[in-house]
Symmetry: C2
Subunit: 175 residues, 2 copies
């Protein structure tokens, strides 16, 4: 699968996963893809945890009502440190978003599906905080995103998108 094919075939999948394990070597490649993303001033503010241990998975899955999270054979967690990179600027969000996109493309190429769970994790019910406790994440790291990984049980529809001409233009603003 070319990079462009992965970019255009990536989807957000919120359904159930097949009970097919994700081999550890695939998880490692996905994590490496995430770490290969650029970061502001090369500060590498993003760290990652993959979970495939069944007992730990069960504990984490018990905290969520999402069919995707509950049935995923592996979960990836994205941690950040919100440090200043340049003058008064922190690029931690940009850094982890680029890392997440890399992981989504890598897992698409490997035949898996996922979904970017961020609002669900950092919302008022503090799901991310409770998951971070189960994962023994120290206070200086913030758990900001969870990515289930697995083979989708159902078809994955494409989202409705605005047409190209409403979002992109050449040689000056004309949207």
């Amino acid at each position: 699968m070319t990079a462009l094919e992965a970019i255009f075939q990536r989807r957000c999948y919120r359904g159930k996963y097949k009970p097919v394990p994700v081999p550890r070597e695939h998880l490692k490649i996905i994590l490496e893809a995430g770490l290969a993303a650029p970061s502001g001033c090369n500060l590498q503010t993003t760290s990652l945890i993959a979970v495939d241990d069944p007992a730990l998975l069960n504990q984490l899955q018990a905290l969520s009502h999402s069919p995707a999270v509950k049935t995923a054979p592996a979960l990836l967690f994205v941690l950040t440190r919100r440090v200043i990179a340049y003058e008064d600027k922190c690029f931690a969000v940009q850094d982890y978003a680029a890392a997440i996109e890399n992981m989504l493309l890598a897992l698409t190429e490997l035949g898996y599906r996922s979904c970017w769970y961020e609002g669900h994790v950092t919302g008022p019910n503090r799901l991310g905080y409770r998951m971070a406790q189960l994962l023994s994440v120290p206070d200086e790291y913030e758990l900001v995103c969870m990515l289930p990984v697995g083979v989708a049980e159902d078809a994955v529809p494409a989202p409705e998108k605005k047409p190209f001409e409403k979002r992109a233009c050449f040689n000056g603003f004309s949207l």
Copy 2:
């Protein structure tokens, strides 16, 4: 080039570009790749402008001292609208960062190099604001990033990165 190859071969390039044009069809593919990125609640907060018109390029390049920007045969600009997506959350930064990473991978596959110019653009000298004026960008859009695109004149060294074990782990935090 597979998605994983593009992910691992992408580099930040700050040197000069060869005087080789980037065909309009390549620019369009790169923009489409950016727009294919996910966005929080599918709000599609990211918009894009590509510039390949020589007169407009000259005006924009006159505002920067970067050898990459000054010699690039095309410049891409990333615009955002910081709207609330979910409860009190705005995912505009995540949205445009994922779009930028997609574009960086797409242009890598097409044989080009780029660099994520964000701090340079949104810094205190208001370069992004002045570029947005040249591009007739309305006030409700914020210009947050510029990506030069072209064929690199020089070799592109890999950045120094922390080892995998310092940034990623399995089944609990152990960094």
